[in-house]
Each structure stands twice: as structure tokens, then as C-alpha cells.
């Protein structure tokens, strides 16, 4: 049957004869049949004529006389009736052949079919979900089949050609320039794989427009122009149809391309996507002790889910698991799953999930979130590369003392003692039961100036007044490489001139007072964590902050005013003064890729300044500031499929790590290149060392499986070729077998006049009925005439 329709589409005769009138036929065969059907009334007439036996008639003289009298009128009537009947049949045949009023060139020239195949994330919607949740046929498979059908309607001997463009962002030319080798094009289509970026319809249309313009310029005005048919092989679900994005116009009116689209999908699919997974603390620490014990270091991840499809209106649950994995090795054991409840109408949800422990000995880890299988498999997993450190090495920069052993009496504790004690609690009296992963190392300010802070992740400067200019330069370098610095004023200095030096050296917009402010009555700490970019520093303990801050009192502090361009203080005192300010360094306008964080505690860690060191707030304050600060300073190179991103500094190559990345094949490390598939790569430096992991995640904007109404998509696509040139590819009634008409040859290039023809046929049929009744003289009385016969 398919072959039969193809053959019909190749009949040039009927359409070419009428093409001079601007009339083309979608199904020329029916037009031929309609024209031939004109003979039906004549044949019926002839058959009827032959069958009648003649009547021998005596009064022939009067009959002939009457007949001669009316012969002309009768002949005219019969001709009129015959013409009416022929017209009815012919109009019916014409109407069924779907004639189009269009451009003559369109009907005669070859066809250039441009297949825009949606291989985006949305095209991974499973056509059917088998009970085991295994991969089954996805929408892309059907789209490829549809594209193959269209391709089969072409005829290379007629000069038809085909191009293929994939829509996964950024849109890519799979076959271009157009190829007459339709078999090869079909093979290319079959090889198209589903990718994880969003559909880039606008980009594809723009590319087509550019290509067509190029071709037009090359060919000039002479020569026949092929008929350009764009076939958008996409279900155009909400994930693919970005209706808000304007489309480039590629011309409208006769002779311009026409656009074929598939009908809106009839299947409503439920889908849930992981739109984000982030560690609650940017730094994942894995201590040696924890590796041995296999226990959790207390890492948590924040997972954001979004759901699409009809089940948004219903309640439901989704199970989420988060693993800290080495992508090179499969995850170990089962991690506990968190069940996320959905309320009816709720589209998105964010949950905090405990992270299952990662494998021991991993260099670089990935935070992998998983949910149960649903319509789209790719967005059920999301990976974030995290820096997993066995410990955070903290340089505690303080003045060297003659007695290096720590004091046992808190009255004699130096700030360094307090810090070391807080960072690494020791002894049964202060055992916390969990390892902190922080390793303090005491450093002399002078040594900082000499050798810098290489090998440290953070530095707590307790004696800023002892740092020289060179020392501050080293600190600035340390920050530039992503380090974290916490500065406290020296406890015993009366004048704090170091503040100006620090601000200048680190490029901070802070004004630090030279003299400490001493309160007559101790002031408390405000229980609220301020907003701003650095509020993540204490985000984890913000809920407990009022309780923790209440017992703390401050007797002395230094004055710090934050510039308008800098973030507000993270923690303040009850009188409104700042207690902790923080700022990222190198984040804005920095030429370096990495960025560090600098924080300033306005009171010294000394009991003469504040009783903070003895209060419970001290430990979380310092831990969070250091750990989060170090994590914030990390540069995450993860990307979204189909989008560009920054390349790790010093990277020379990207090595695929997981199976998906390996399947994706080579990926240029150039900054402008993008990956359309998700996966995990390893950024390798010059010496072959791993700089960082680079995870590419699906663009969950394409996870939206909601069905978009055909009217909306038609209006959207109409902006590119004109609303009257967008036609939906008709499906056969049983959704199987060949289509009733050739899609590629079908209209759009002209106005269909089928309906007017049908109406005309109907009117002509009515006229025929009227005339036939009138001309039949059925109303003539059969009764005897006025003759006196038989009297």
C-alpha cells in the first residue's frame, strides 16, 4: 500500500496540466479518477439506451411532429442534465483529490525535505513503561520511524533531497547540505541518539534560515527553486516547545518553506526530575577514622525535585537516595532512601538527605542523587562533583610563644589555644563523638610572609598586626587560589592599624576602626543570621542560632563598616554592630578563576573581649565558618547538558569517567564546546593529575512532559513560516499502516479548495435534482387527454 501511494505521488500529469492554473493536487490519482468519473453518467446513459426495446407506434406522425416541435428544447434539457451530472462527479473527484491553490514552481520542482528531529531530553519519554521499569521504546524511536516514512515518500530520481538536523541543544546539522542519497540519510537518522539537553527549536530554525539564505545567495535568482518542506519531528511537549522563545522567520507566502508537525501526543506521562543536588556544606570531608569505620561523616545533601505531568494534581511520593560515589567504581551497598511526599498541586520540593558514605580512598567524589524510574530515565539521576578532602588543614597564624605547650587553665588560654581546641577537640572531657576533619597547624606570621600558605585549606589569622605587607600579599595569593581566611583582632593590641593594610591588600571594601570599642555593659549577640551572599556560612546553624547566641556577651570589639558593594555582616551584636563579616575575594572582576573567602570576627578570641570562647556558639561558629568557607571557595565546574561552562584552570584534557561519558565519546576541552549528554568527566592537568571532576547533568527544563495544545504550538511555529503553512501530519485512523495521503506532497503551500469544491458539488447535485425533476415532466398528467376517443 505504501508503494501504491508513492507511485501516485509521482504521477505528474494531472497536476502539471492544472498547475498552470496554480492548482496542485495532494492526491493526483484521485483527480485522475475524478476526471475519469465524468464518463460515468455517459456510460450509464449509453447502457440504459441499449437495453430499451423499441415501441412500435402507429400515430408516429403526431409523435414526430410533437418531437420536432420540442426537439431543441429537449436536447438542451438533456445536455444541461448531462453537464450537471458530469460536473457533480467531477467536482466530487476534484474535491477528494485535495487540490491546492499554490505556487506553480512548488508543484513542479524537486522537494528539499529538512527533517528536524527532536533528540532532546524530552524525546526520551518512554512510549510505554514496562512493569520492571526497564528501558523500552522511547519517543525518539517513534520520531525516527516517522522521519523514515517521510523520507520514503521522496524520490531521488525526481531530484528530491533531504537534510537532517538534531534539535538537542545546541541544534546540530546531522546531514547538511541536503543529500540525494536518501538511503544514507535514513541510516543517519537511525543512528541518532537521545541526548540530555533541551530541544533547541529556535536555534534549529535560525540555522535553517541561515542555510537557506546561503543557498539562495549562491544559486541567485535563476534556476528552479526546490520546494522546501520542514518536518519538525517532535512531540512538542512542554519540555521541547519553549513557547516564550521567538522563532526566526523563514518566509511566508507561496514559494516559501512549509512546516509539517506531528500531532500533539495523546499520552500524558508522569515524570519527576532532580533539578538540583547540592551538599549542605560545600566541603565533603572524609576523615581517616571514618574511612576505617565506614561511618557517615555527617554529610548531607539538599535535593530539589520537580514533577511534571498529570500526577501533579494528585498526591504521591518519590523516593530519593543520595550517594557519595567515586564515579569510576560502582556505589557500595544500599543507601537509605528518603520518601518525599507530594501534596496535590505541588510541583517542586526540596529535601535534605543524609549522604551515604563514599568509597574509601577516592580522590574525587561525586554526589549522586537517584530517584525511582519514571517516564524519562536521564533526569532520575543527578551528579554533582564535590571536593572530598580527608581533612581541612587550617593554619592558625599567631605570635610565637616561648611556651608552646597548651595551657591547661582556660584563664591563660591564648586565642590560638582556643582555636586549636575548638577545631580539634581532644580529651574525654570535650569529646564530641564525631570527628571534625579539621587539622589546625600553628604558623608564625613571619613564616607566612616567607613561604606562603601552600598546603593549607584555611587560615585563621589571630595576629594580623604582625603580618607584614609581604605577608598580606601571600594571604591575598592564598585567597586567590581558593583559600579561606578568618581574621580576628589581636587581643592585646591597643591600636589596630592592621585593618587598613588588610583591606587594601585584599581589596576589601571594609573600613576597620583603629581603636577597639569597649562596652561598659557587655552586649549580647543578635540571634539572627543576616542575609547576603555569605549567609551560607552559618546557614546550617541558623535555626539554632538564637539559643546559641543568647549566653554570649561581648565586652570589646573593633569597629567595622561594610561598604555598600559588599555583603552585609553575617552576625551582629545586639547594638547593631557587626560581629562577623565575610566577603568573597576575586569573585567579581577577578581574572583568576578561583575565589576565596575572607571573614572577620570583630572581637578577639579572648575572654577579655568576649566570653564567646567558653560558650557553645564558639564551636559551630568556627567550624561552620571554616568548613563552609573552604567549600564556598571551591569552584564547581559542573554543567548542564547543552550549555557552556567554565573550564578548570590548567586543564589539558577531559577523560570520561562514567559509562555515559564514555558512550558520549570525545569531548573537546575547549571552553565553547558543550556536551549534549550527561556524564562525569575528569579534568586532567598537564602532569596527568586530576584537577577536578566535571559532571554534566540533564537540562531539566526538558523534563516537562506536559502536553502542549496543538493550537499553542501552531501559533508559535506559525511565526516562522506563517500560520497557514503549518500543517499537522495526519495519522491513519488505527495509528498503523500508511497514511491516507502523501505528507510531503500535501498542502500548506497553497490554499486547499476541497471544501469549496465539495460545497459546489453539493450545490450542483441540488441543481441536478431540481433540473432532473423539472425536465422529467413527471408532473405531466398521465390521464387521458381531451380526445373524444371511446365516446
Amino acid at each position: 500500500m505504501t508503494a501504491m501511494w508513492q507511485d501516485f505521488t509521482r504521477l505528474p500529469e494531472p497536476s502539471s496540466a492544472l498547475a498552470t492554473l496554480g492548482l496542485t493536487f495532494v492526491t493526483p490519482a484521485l483527480a485522475v479518477a475524478g476526471a475519469a468519473a465524468v464518463a460515468i453518467p455517459i456510460i450509464i446513459h449509453l447502457l440504459t439506451r441499449r437495453r430499451r426495446t423499441p415501441i412500435a407506434w402507429g400515430a408516429m406522425r403526431f409523435l414526430l411532429e410533437a418531437y420536432r416541435k420540442h426537439r431543441r428544447r429537449l436536447t438542451l434539457e438533456q445536455l444541461l442534465l448531462l453537464a450537471c451530472r458530469c460536473l457533480v462527479v467531477m467536482l466530487l473527484g476534484l474535491a477528494l483529490s485535495r487540490p491546492m491553490l499554490g505556487d506553480e514552481a512548488d508543484s513542479r520542482g524537486a522537494t528539499h525535505l529538512i527533517l528536524l528531529i527532536d533528540n532532546s531530553l524530552t524525546s526520551q519519554v518512554r512510549e510505554s513503561l514496562d512493569p520492571r521499569g526497564q528501558a523500552s521504546r522511547i519517543a525518539l524511536d517513534r520520531l525516527k520511524d516517522e522521519a523514515g516514512k517521510l523520507l520514503a515518500e521522496l524520490d531521488s530520481s525526481r531530484g528530491d533531497r533531504a537534510s537532517v538536523m538534531t534539535l538537542a541543544s545546541p541544534a546540530m546539522e546531522a546531514v547538511w547540505p541536503a543529500s540525494p542519497d536518501l538511503g544514507a540519510v535514513a541510516r543517519v537518522i537511525q543512528d541518532i541518539r537521545a541526548e540530555d539537553s533541551r530541544a533547541d527549536v529556535a536555534g534549529a530554525i535560525a540555522a535553517v534560515r541561515a542555510r537557506l539564505l546561503e543557498r539562495e545567495n549562491e544559486s541567485g535568482q535563476g534556476g528552479p527553486r526546490p520546494r522546501v518542506v520542514l518536518a519538525l519531528m517532535s512531540e512538542l511537549r512542554a519540555g521541547s516547545a519553549e513557547l516564550s522563545q521567538p522563532l526566526a522567520s523563514i518566509g511566508s507566502g507561496p514559494g516559501s518553506p512549509i512546516l509539517k508537525v506531528l500531532p500533539a501526543p495523546f499520552q500524558f506521562m508522569d515524570n519527576t526530575a532532580i533539578t538540583a543536588v547540592d551538599p549542605v556544606r560545600p566541603l565533603m570531608t572524609v576523615t581517616d577514622a571514618e574511612e576505617e569505620a565506614g561511618g557517615s561523616p555527617g554529610n548531607q545533601a539538599r535535593v530539589t525535585l520537580e514533577r511534571f505531568g498529570p500526577w501533579v494534581s494528585r498526591a504521591g511520593t518519590t523516593r530519593v537516595r543520595v550517594l557519595l560515589t567515586d564515579p569510576r567504581t560502582p556505589p557500595i551497598g544500599e543507601s537509605p532512601a528518603v520518601t518525599v511526599p507530594w501534596q496535590p498541586g505541588q510541583r517542586s520540593a526540596t529535601v535534605i538527605v543524609d549522604v551515604a558514605p563514599g568509597p574509601p580512598g577516592a580522590e574525587a567524589l561525586a554526589l549522586t542523587a537517584l530517584i525511582d524510574p519514571d517516564a524519562i530515565a536521564s533526569d532520575n539521576i543527578r551528579v554533582r562533583s564535590v571536593e572530598a578532602r580527608r581533612g581541612v588543614r587550617v593554619a592558625v597564624i599567631e605570635s610565637l610563644r616561648l611556651v608552646t605547650s597548651p595551657s591547661t587553665s582556660i584563664d591563660r588560654f591564648t586565642p590560638g589555644d582556643w582555636v586549636r581546641l575548638v577545631l580539634r577537640p581532644q580529651g574525654p572531657s570535650v569529646g564530641l563523638g564525631v570527628a571534625t576533619g579539621l587539622t589546625p597547624t600553628t604558623m608564625d606570621p613571619a613564616s607566612v610572609a616567607r613561604g606562603g600558605l601552600g598546603g593549607f585549606d584555611a587560615a585563621i589569622i589571630l595576629a594580623p598586626d604582625e603580618l607584614t605587607q609581604a605577608g598580606w600579599t601571600r594571604i591575598a595569593e592564598f585567597l586567590g587560589s581558593g583559600g579561606m581566611v578568618l581574621v580576628t583582632p589581636p587581643a592585646d593590641a591597643s591600636v589596630h592599624v592592621w585593618g587598613e593594610t588588610m583591606a587594601a591588600a585584599l581589596g576589601l571594601d571594609w573600613t576597620i576602626g583603629r581603636e577597639a570599642v569597649t562596652y561598659g555593659e557587655p552586649v549580647g549577640v543578635a540571634g539572627e543570621v543576616s542575609g547576603g551572599a555569605s549567609n551560607t556560612l552559618l546557614g546550617m546553624i541558623s535555626g539554632e542560632m538564637p539559643g546559641l547566641a543568647r549566653p554570649v556577651s561581648v565586652m570589646r570589639r573593633i569597629e567595622v563598616r561594610v561598604g555598600e558593594g559588599s555583603p552585609p555582616p553575617v552576625l551582629g551584636l545586639s547594638d547593631g554592630a557587626a560581629l562577623l563579616v565575610a566577603s568573597e575575594v576575586g569573585s567579581a572582576g577577578s581574572t583568576t578563576e578561583s575565589r576565596g573567602m575572607v571573614a572577620l570576627l570583630t572581637c578577639a578570641i579572648d575572654l577579655a573581649w568576649s566570653d564567646l570562647p567558653t560558650k557553645p556558639l564558639m564551636l559551630p561558629l568556627l567550624h561552620e565558618t571554616v568548613r563552609v568557607g573552604v567549600g564556598v571557595s571551591q569552584v564547581v565546574h559542573d554543567r548542564i547538558a547543552g550549555r557552556t561552562g567554565r573550564v578548570p584552570a590548567g586543564m589539558t584534557d577531559l577523560v570520561p569517567v562514567d559509562s555515559r561519558a564514555r558512550e558520549a565519546g570525545a569531548w573537546s576541552p575547549a571552553a565553547a564546546s558543550v556536551s549534549r549528554v550527561s556524564g562525569v568527566w575528569r579534568a586532567v592537568g598537564a602532569g596527568g593529575s586530576t584537577i577536578s571532576l566535571l559532571a554534566v547533568n540533564p537540562d531539566t527544563a526538558g523534563s516537562d512532559t506536559d502536553v502542549v495544545q496543538s493550537e499553542q504550538t501552531a501559533a508559535w511555529l506559525g511565526t516562522t513560516v506563517g500560520a497557514d503553512r503549518v500543517t499537522v501530519i495526519a495519522e491513519p485512523a488505527d495509528n498503523r499502516g500508511p497514511r491516507p495521503v502523501s505528507v510531503v506532497a500535501a498542502g500548506g503551500e497553497g490554499e486547499s479548495i476541497s471544501v469549496p469544491l465539495l460545497i459546489a458539488a453539493l450545490c450542483m447535485a441540488l441543481v441536478e435534482v431540481f433540473l432532473a425533476r423539472r425536465f422529467s415532466h413527471a408532473d405531466t398528467a398521465v390521464a387521458a387527454g381531451e380526445s373524444g376517443a371511446g365516446a
Binding site: 430499451r52 415501441i55 402507429g58 408516429m60 411532429e65 420540442h70 415532466h777 405531466t780 381531451e786 376517443a789
Partner: protein, 359 residues
């Protein structure tokens, strides 16, 4: 009694050949077929006619005495009137007794009783072969076909029945009856006679004529046939013309004028089929003329009105032509029995004769 034996047309023709013709007229039958007179005179018809005596319109000049009055005053037993003598009158007819009594020369006129000379002219042209009524129904005998195999009761069948009826009654009265079967010319004739065999000769001529296929599609030439008939008769006759009169009306008027000139009395029987008047065909069909007019395909409904008007006008013209000359005209339908129209006709003739004793 009706003859229940199936009629073999070939054997009938063979018998007719052996019997021989009555007067040797070209085209006439040489022998008489063994046909039942009741074929033409249905018992019903005869029973209706038996109560009347056939009265001719005019008193014919006859040789033998009969019941009919002669317009010629001459030797007779019944006194009519006296009239004054004019020179040239036959002196043998002077009434000498009146002259003796009144000294006036009076001519004695008497009614002379004559016999009726009836000449029946039957049209056998092609158009007379049309009939829409079934033979079985019309014959009233249970016969399904005619002797020549026709299943329809044609106008010719009806005309022969009329002719036979008229002849039978005429002969039964002792009058003379003769027959002429004509189409484009006289095809058969039976001399006027009152002999016993005349009836069989007439019936034989009527029944034999259509058996010949060449006689079935001859055109009508009434004028020529009348000329030939008039040439064979010298005395005044009652001429009964049984025809459909589908010829030209001018020719019919000319014939009527000629007959009137020869002072013959005429009774015109126009035999028509009901279908010819109604023309109630519905389906388009080819119509083929019976006199070789050719074939024409037409929708009867389209020309029905026009046709009816034409034939109606023609029938009226025919009637006017005969009645205008003082002749009688009677339209007959093949769908009607012979009895009612003939009885009505005879009754009307008698009433006319009673009102005017002398023409």
C-alpha cells in the same frame, strides 16, 4: 362456440390458398379460412345488435325489394304523391285517372322499396397494427394470440370486427354487402352481394390480409383506395370507412368531398387505441413508426402534452370533415366492446331516418 384448437397460421394460410379468392382482386385471398365468425362478432355484440334493424341513412337504389325506401319514385306498389307534369317526364307515369277526373296532367309518384348496398372499406395500413390491449382480453374467447401470433388486440382487429358486424347484419337483412381492404391501394375486395357465401368471403378477406408480412407496414393512401372503390361501383352505396384516419386532414376532406359528389352515404368509424390518445408512457424509450417513419428516442413525458394536443386536434378535424358533409362519424376505442358504440350508432341512425323520410 369458440374454437379451442390452437390456430396454426401456416395451415390457415394454406387452407386459404385452396379456397380461392372471391373476385380475383389483386391481393385478395383465394380461399376462405375456416374461421369462426364469432371471432369478429362476439356473442355479446350480436345479442345487443339483434334487437335493432339496421337502417341506412339514405334509401338506396336497389334491385331487389327490401325494407329500405328508395329515393327514386317509380314502379312501386306504394303511392307516394302526385306532382304536375313537366315536359320530359315519362308519360308512362302519368296518372290517367286524375287526368280524367281533373283534366290535369299529374305524375304519380310511388315509394320504391330497395335493398341496401353496403360497402365496408377497412384500413389495413401499418398504423392499424398498433394495439395496447391484450388479445386474450379483447377477443373474449380465451384465445391468447391471433391467428398470426400477435398477442395484442390491434386497431385492425377492431376494424375487422366492426366490418364483419356491419356485413353480417346487412346480409342478415337480405341486403347486399361488399368489402374493400385497403392500405396504399386496394389490397382485397369482395363484391357486393346478398348471397349466402358473401359472409364467408368477407370474413376470409378480413382475416387473411394481415397474414402476409408485406402487408403489415404499408402506408395509408385513402384517396387512392376510394378512387379505386368508386371506379368499381356505379350505384349509390352506403360506404362504411373503418380506419384510424391518420392521414393528412386535407386528403380526408378531399375524399369526403368526392364521396359527396358521387352522392354516396358514408359512415366513418375512426378506430383508435386508448394509448394513442393518452400516451401514458413514462420511461424514455425508442418509438418506431409502423409505416416506416423510422425510429426516434424520446422521453414521452416531455412531449405528452404537445402530442395529445396534436392528435386531439386531428381527431376533431376528422370528425368535423365528415359531419360537415352531413355524414356520420363514430370514434371507436379498441378498449371498448363493439356493442355499445354500434348500438348507439344504429339507434341514432334510425331516429334520423324516422325524422326525415326522404332525403
Amino acid at each position: 362456440m369458440p374454437d379451442d384448437r390452437p390456430i396454426d397460421t401456416s395451415s390457415a394460410a394454406r387452407r386459404a390458398d385452396h379456397a380461392g379468392a372471391s373476385d380475383g382482386t389483386p391481393g385478395s385471398a383465394r380461399s376462405l379460412p375456416e374461421v369462426d365468425p364469432s371471432l369478429y362478432l362476439h356473442p355479446q355484440t350480436l345479442s345487443r345488435l339483434g334487437s335493432f334493424e339496421l337502417r341506412a341513412k339514405m334509401i338506396v337504389e336497389g334491385i331487389s325489394s327490401g325494407w329500405h325506401r328508395s329515393p327514386f319514385q317509380g314502379f312501386s306498389v306504394e303511392f307516394a304523391q302526385h306532382r304536375p307534369y313537366v315536359p320530359g317526364d315519362d308519360i308512362r307515369r302519368l296518372d290517367w285517372k286524375v287526368f280524367a277526373k281533373t283534366d290535369r296532367l299529374q305524375i304519380k309518384q310511388t315509394h320504391q322499396e330497395t335493398t341496401l348496398d353496403l360497402l365496408v372499406m377497412v384500413d389495413s395500413s401499418g398504423s392499424m397494427n398498433y394495439g395496447s390491449r391484450s388479445f386474450e382480453e379483447a377477443s373474449g374467447e380465451g384465445r391468447k394470440t391471433s391467428v398470426d401470433g400477435r398477442t395484442s388486440w390491434t386497431k385492425y382487429d377492431h376494424a375487422t370486427a366492426v366490418a364483419a358486424a356491419l356485413s353480417y347484419i346487412t346480409l342478415h337483412q337480405g341486403d347486399r354487402a361488399g368489402l374493400i381492404v385497403y392500405a396504399d391501394e386496394v389490397r382485397a375486395s369482395v363484391r357486393r352481394s346478398s348471397s349466402q357465401g358473401t359472409w364467408r368471403q368477407i370474413v376470409g378477406a378480413l382475416s387473411l390480409h394481415p397474414l402476409a408480412p408485406e402487408n403489415r407496414s404499408r402506408p395509408t393512401a385513402l384517396s387512392r383506395a376510394v378512387d379505386q372503390a368508386l371506379a368499381s361501383i356505379s350505384n349509390r352505396c352506403l360506404i362504411a370507412i373503418v380506419s384510424d384516419f391518420f392521414g393528412e386532414i386535407d386528403e380526408i376532406r378531399e375524399v369526403v368531398a368526392r364521396l359527396r359528389h358521387r352522392r354516396h352515404d358514408v359512415i366513418a368509424f375512426q378506430v383508435l387505441d386508448r394509448a394513442e390518445l393518452d400516451f401514458d408512457f413514462v420511461e424514455p424509450a425508442p418509438f418506431e413508426g409502423l409505416e416506416g417513419e423510422g425510429r426516434v428516442r424520446l422521453d414521452p413525458r416531455a412531449i405528452r402534452d404537445s402530442y395529445r394536443e396534436l392528435i386531439g386536434t386531428h381527431v376533431s378535424e376528422v370528425e368535423r370533415a365528415f359531419r360537415g358533409a352531413g355524414y356520420d362519424y363514430q370514434a371507436l376505442s379498441t378498449h371498448d366492446w363493439l356493442g355499445p358504440p354500434m348500438a348507439a350508432f344504429v339507434a341514432r341512425r334510425n331516429s334520423i331516418l324516422k325524422r326525415s323520410k326522404y332525403a
